[in-house]
Every structure is written in C-alpha cells, then in structure tokens.
C-alpha cells in the first residue's frame, strides 16, 4: 500500500473520458418526509432504456464509496432524467441526501434487473409499505396504462412518513391508506385490507407488494390461502448488480437466485424471507457504526458552517 507509485503514463490517471456519458448531475431535489428524498438525476442513457421495476446502482465516490441499489421511481426519456426516491437509513443514503441541485454523482449504473411483467390481467392490487411506495409508483403507472383496474394500499407507521399520496391518488382506482397509529386512514397493517380484497368476488388477478421484508412476507402469507399470485420486489444487499458476486442471493422455491439479475421481483409465495432478513443484517454492526459516524460528521459540518 505504501509502495511509491510508478510514474503513470498520463498524469492524473482515472480521468476516464466521460465525453459521452453525461455527468449524472442532480437536476432537482425534494424532501418528501422527514427522512425521504426525491432527486431527479440527468442520466439520458438509462432514461432511454429503463422500464418499470428496474433499478440503478449508484456510488457517490468511486474510491471509497459503497455501491447501493435504488429503484428508478420515474423517468423521462425525452428530457433524459431518472428520478430516485430514497430513505436515509445509513451512510451512503445520508451522503446522498446532502448533495444539492447541480452536484454530480460519480457513478450511476443501470437500468438493472428484469422489468416488471406488465400486462392487462384485470384487477391488480399494489401494496406499498414505507419507502416501498416509491418503487411501487412506476409499476402502478404501468399497470394502469396497460388497462388494469388498480387498487393501491399504502402503509406507514404514522402520517408524517407517508409519501406520494397525491401521485397515487391520481392513478389508483381505489386507494387505501393504513397507519400503525391511525393518524391517517385506517389504523391497521396493510395485510388487513389486502385480505379483504382477496376475499372479494371476483378475486384480484394479482398482487404486487413492495416494502420492508417483513411486510412482504406477511402480504405473501395473506394472499396464499386465496391463491392470488403475489409479486414481491426484494431489496437485498448488492455490490455489482450484474450477477458477478452472488452477494444478493436469496432462496426462492428451494433454489438459489440472484436478485440483481434473476429479479428483483419474485413469486412471494416461494421466497424464503426469513433467510433473506438474516442476510440483510450481515453487516449491521458495522453499518450502525458508520451511520453514527455519519451523523457526528454531519453535525460537525453544520457547526462549522454556522461558525463560518
């Protein structure tokens, strides 16, 4: 590590030609709730190819940054941007939230994963929990455009954490809001209305559930007795996102699958959620430390700014 560097042929190596890749510039930034942000990022190549259900991997700093997956929440191929909606849960998402309009993100890779299979099937129930509402949005949009009747169930712990209510209301044929504390909509978990809807005649043709793993697990359990096909979008830890590392693997129907290339959507009735949840915690101790560190640094920066 401490060996003297060989004289590089061109000074300032790693200055790759970005001539044709646009700079991943942040075009807008909106705070949707306490800890949820939306950003539009200039990424014309990704905007051109992406379909609902696909995601990107971004990295804030190419030398020491982590690569994190985020769903493409929206995109405009003409204008050449994609939108991401993210919750600040750890170091990278915090650093991202500190970026402002005009800043750039060093790496943005995508669109990754299989797009959602969207076709006209009749009635579709889309269930979003917490930040899961963001990745659900393009799917709701697609399902609606394909001519389906779309019922949206949105859940959050409390009213202030609900996001994208307006957008969903504009799209959904029926919108059900649930909060754990009853501060908005029904005081219930999303599984409650989901079961009721599955009990209706005719049954919905399919359910798409995106949210915390525990929510997806119980949504799948809720629909299982009704035999309603249930898609879930898995959010495992990833590195490359191209099928190279196997870090994102999950057990589906007894087989090992790579979420980044075989997914991210799978048949919820076959996913081994318990194993997936354990795998998500693999680095918990280190992540908590980094998160704490991040808050300390942030506080120090703010203090510094106040002094200056």
């Amino acid at each position: 590590m401490n060996a003297p560097p060989f004289p590089a042929i061109i000074p300032g190596y790693y200055r790759y030609s970005y001539r044709l890749i646009l700079m991943n510039r942040i075009l807008s930034k909106t705070q949707l709730s306490d800890d949820v942000f939306m950003m539009k990022v200039e990424a014309p190549l990704i905007a051109r190819e992406r379909l609902p259900g696909q995601f990107i991997i971004l990295q804030i700093n190419n030398d020491f940054g982590e690569r994190i997956p985020l769903t493409i929440a929206d995109a405009d191929a003409e204008q050449g941007w994609i939108a991401i909606i993210f919750q600040t849960v750890g170091r990278t998402t915090h650093l991202l939230a500190e970026k402002n309009v005009g800043d750039t993100i060093e790496s943005v890779l995508g669109p990754l994963g299989h797009p959602t299979h969207i076709e006209r099937v009749g009635t579709v129930v889309c269930v979003g929990g917490g930040i899961g509402v963001a990745p659900l949005h393009p799917i709701v949009k697609g399902m609606k455009a394909a001519g389906n009747r779309v019922i949206v169930i949105m859940g959050a712990r409390t009213k202030s954490l609900l996001i994208m209510e307006e957008q969903m209301r504009a799209l959904a044929d029926e919108l059900i809001i649930c909060t754990d504390d009853g501060s908005c909509g029904r005081k219930a978990l999303v599984t409650e209305p989901l079961k009721e809807i599955c009990g209706r005649e005719p049954k919905p043709a399919c359910v798409v559930a995106i949210g915390p793993p525990i929510m997806m697990k119980f949504c799948a359990e809720a629909t299982r007795p009704f035999g309603v096909r249930t898609l879930v979008s898995l959010n495992t830890i990833m590195i490359d996102g191209t099928g190279m590392c196997g870090g994102c693997r999950v057990t589906v129907g007894g087989e090992t699958k790579f979420v980044c290339v075989d997914g991210p959507e799978f048949d919820g009735h076959k996913v081994d959620f318990d194993n997936m949840m354990k795998r998500l915690k693999a680095y918990r101790r280190q992540e908590e430390h980094a998160h704490e560190q991040c808050h300390l640094e942030q506080a120090a920066r703010q203090k510094g700014a106040a002094v200056a």
């Binding site: 190596y13 890749i21 590392c245």
Partner: protein, 496 residues
C-alpha cells in the same frame, strides 16, 4: 523454509555476476547450469500478513542478468512452445543477459501487450517453464530458467524508467469498434485495433476498468497501478473508456451496431458468474463467493476500515473451498484482514491444485492451513443464521480411472465438523448470461460460453468474442492471445 531477505539475495547475485563478467569469456553450457537459480525476493511472511502491498518484490538488475545467463539458448526452444503467445524467449532472455533491457522488452512486446502482468500471474510452471531444458537437466521444473520473473523485471524497468510509450496510431480511418469489458482480452483488442487507426470505445460495467485484474486478483499479487498504467496507455492512444455501462442493459449489443454506428464489436466479458456447491446452509450469513469477498476488498477497498464505506465480514476462522488461484487469493486476503485461522479445503491432493505453485507456497508461508482430500458436505449455522461450522467429509484416492488419474472417493462415515464463522466458496466461475440473453442469435455452449470460429467471430456477423467468456475461466495470457486473434480479424474486416 526460512525467509531470505532481498538484500542477501541481491548481494549474492551481485557477487556472482561480477565474477562471471570479470572472466570476460562466454559461458559454457555447464557453467550456465552451475549458476544458482535466482530466488524471487519477497516480503517477510510475518510482515506481509498484515499488509496488502506486493509480496514478490521483483528481481534486482543483477538477479535478472544472472538468471538470464542460465538460459542455454536452445535451438528448438521448447519454452516458446509452452508460451500461449509464443514470445521469442531465447532472444529476449539473451538480451536481458547482456543487460540490454530495452532490446529485451522490445522482443517481448512483439507478442505480448501485458508483460508486467503476465510475468507476475502466468502459471509459468505449466507453460514456458515446463519444458525448459535447464529445468529438465536439473531434474526440477522449479529450477527451470525463471522466464516469467525476467519478463516481469524488464517490463517493470521499462515502465519505471518512463520508457513505456504508447504505441503509435495510424491515421484515422473513421471506422468505429466497440469493445465490451476491460479485462486482458479487451485491453489487447483495444490496443491492436486502435493502432490501425480505428476509433475504439470500451464499455465497462464497473466503475473502474481492468476486469479481474482489478476486482479479483489482489493488490499483494498484482498492484493496481500496473493495470492502471496499461489503461492509461490505451487512453493516450485515444481509446475511450466508458465505465458504469453495462451492455445488455444500458444498451443492447445489437443496438451498438445497428443504431450507434459501430462497425464491429468485441465481447470480452469474462467468466463472472460464481458457482456454488448447492449444499445445505450455503445461503447462511458468513458464506461468500470468492468473487464477492475479493471484490469487496480489491475494488471497494473494504480492508481500509477507516475510509471505505463498503463493509467486510470480520472473520475469526475462515474455510475456503477450492484449490485454484482464486482460493489462494481469498485465503491470503482473509489472513490480511486479521482472521485468526484460515483453512483451505480441497477435494484432491496438492498435485492436482490448479493454483500457481508459487502462490501455494506463499499461502503456506503466511500460515494458511491446507486440508487435502476433504470436502464440505453442509454448512451449519445458529438461530440468527450465522455460520458456526462446516461439516466435512474425508476422501481417499480410488482406483485410477480411464485417464489414469486416481479419483478421490469419499470415506464413508468420515464426517466431522470444522468450527468456522466464514466460508468462502472458490470452486470456479461460469459465464455471465447477460449478453447472450439480451442478444438474439448469439450462440453459446451448454455452459454458456460464446461460440466462436477460428477467427474469433461469433455466430453474428461483425461481433467477435474472446477470453474467459469463450474459454471458460482460464488465464490472463490466454485471454490476451484470444484478443490478438480477434483484433487481427476485426482489422482485416475493416480493411476490406
């Protein structure tokens, strides 16, 4: 084996070389055979267990000359036969023996574009050094002329002296070639095609170019700055490198040709799909593919606990499954990350291990424990899903099979539990299916390798392929050789 310091080796070489030069007479073959084979100076194993910096320090100038003088300049040069790209070994070794390093590197570069890399990572003992006459005469391949080490010395010398100038480029032809991937196969194609004056754009899925040389092979074996210098050279030639661009997703392969104006494409996407064993417990927390483990450290710098945002599992006792270079790299990386004990579990015997002999030796010196004729049966964990142990089976060598090899057969009832908290699976890689899946009409074998004809062309016109995506997990030098062949075909195509 006690560790001999670089200074000691250097002093001995200096003395021996001076003695030879003072005589002023050409050496007889017998005298050449009597020269002490030059040992590669290395970092002290106790020190290097805690650092990522390169283990093999490279010959000194005197060692390089002395080692070169051991070469008998065989007429039939069996060494050349063993080198996949047919470097004129006697000629470059002769120049190196005369101290004319510039001439030596010039000869190597006629055939190889990446001598600094190949000198370090080629499995020389099964290639150029396998049939070396000196090795045969001394009845030990390990005593063959150390062609790779001399090659490394002259290539490093050239770069360190700032003499590694990018090759000249012919006038622009206006033709455009897409090169997918940035591993050794792709680097070779990019250079050879660009030299003819065609425009070249390389596409890389990762945020840094270099392929396995950057994300897989660790710094302690192949310093990143060497690969960086090769990429810089390409850029100096005018090759454009686009990172964060995954073909098949960001753009389809066919679209490059049909819509984006490329006249030809080369696919060098490697063998990046980790194999797992398919045993119970493989998805527990603490089980990694070697690709994941090595990528976290090499590409994402997770060993730099202070600065890197990417975490790495802090292991105490590690078992690595496999016996190839990848397994050695994973095991030695785990040592450096502070594991208390690192075990390599391999189903066959040491003789069958596909890893380079030098690396097996280095791993042993660094305290890696080898379990031969053993294999994992299942991985066990606790209620939180964390690995607590691995159940292994013992094997013994059975009757020779048709090929004369004695196959390992399991010893019934020999199960035992090895207590470990980390299991790294390094049993090989298959080809990544992304491009075949998204490119209609691209023919692949049943293992997913792209099929090419003897010009390197795939089943689709104007699309060529080479390296691990064609050969299955192979070597750097073979990937380079494939790249050369495809580049020649592409250049011929664009000429007509």
């Amino acid at each position: 084996m006690s560790h001999v310091t670089r200074e000691t080796l250097a002093a001995a070489a200096k003395r021996d070389l001076e003695a030879i030069l003072q005589r002023g007479k050409p050496l007889t073959p017998k005298e050449r055979l009597a020269i002490v084979p030059q040992e590669m100076p290395t970092q002290d194993p106790q020190v290097r267990r805690r650092t990522m910096s390169e283990v093999a320090l490279g010959y000194t100038a005197e060692q390089s000359r002395l080692e070169s003088l051991r070469c008998l300049q065989c007429r039939n040069a069996p060494c050349v036969e063993g080198c996949p790209v047919r470097i004129d070994i006697p000629a470059f070794v002769k120049a190196a023996g005369e101290g004319d390093i510039q001439a030596a590197i010039g000869i190597i570069k006629r055939n190889s574009l990446l001598p600094s890399v190949c000198g370090r990572v080629c499995p020389q003992e099964t290639q150029c050094q396998e049939n070396c006459t000196v090795g045969k005469a001394l009845k030990d391949t390990a005593k063959a002329v150390a062609v790779g080490r001399i090659e490394r010395f002259v290539a490093d010398w050239e770069r360190e002296q700032g003499k590694a100038l990018p090759p000249s480029v012919k006038p622009e032809t206006g033709r455009k070639v897409a090169v997918i991937g940035t591993g050794p196969a792709s680097i070779t194609v990019a250079a050879d095609v660009r030299r003819e004056g065609h425009q070249v754009v390389m596409f890389e899925a990762f945020h840094k170019p270099g392929g396995v040389m950057v994300y897989g092979i660790p710094e302690f074996r192949l310093p990143k700055r060497i690969v960086e210098a090769e990429i810089s050279a390409l850029q100096a030639m005018g090759v454009e490198v686009r990172t964060n661009f995954v073909i098949g997703r960001t753009r389809k392969l066919r679209d490059l040709l049909d819509k984006d104006g490329f006249d030809a494409a080369f696919v060098g996407t490697g063998a990046g799909l980790p194999k797992f064993m398919g045993i119970e417990g493989e998805n527990l927390v603490g089980v990694f593919s070697a690709n994941e483990y090595l990528t976290r450290v090499n590409l994402m710098k997770a060993h730099d606990f202070e600065r890197a945002d990417t975490p790495i599992f802090r292991s105490r006792v590690v078992a690595v499954l496999g016996g190839g270079n990848v397994a050695m790299d994973a095991a030695r990386t785990a040592v450096r990350l502070g594991a208390e004990a690192v075990h390599i579990v391999y189903r066959r015997t040491e003789k069958e291990m596909p890893a380079r002999i030098e690396e097996v030796g280095h791993a042993k010196e660094e305290g890696v424990i080898f379990h031969l004729l053993e294999n994992a049966k299942r991985i066990v964990g606790d209620e939180q899903g964390l690995v607590t142990g691995m159940e292994c089976l013992r094997y013994e060598l059975g009757e020779p099979d048709a090929s004369g090899r004695r196959r390992p057969v399991e010893v019934k009832g020999s199960e035992f539990i090895m207590p470990v908290d980390t299991v790294i699976v390094a049993i090989g890689n298959d080809s990544n299916p992304l491009i075949p899946r998204t490119t209609g009409g691209l023919q692949v074998t049943k293992w997913g390798n792209i099929i090419v004809d003897d010009t390197g062309k795939t089943s689709i016109d104007r699309i060529y392929a080479g390296g691990d995506i064609v050969l299955g997990a192979a070597t750097v030098i073979l990937a380079m050789g494939e790249g050369r062949r495809a580049a020649a075909s592409i250049n011929a195509l664009l000429k007509g």
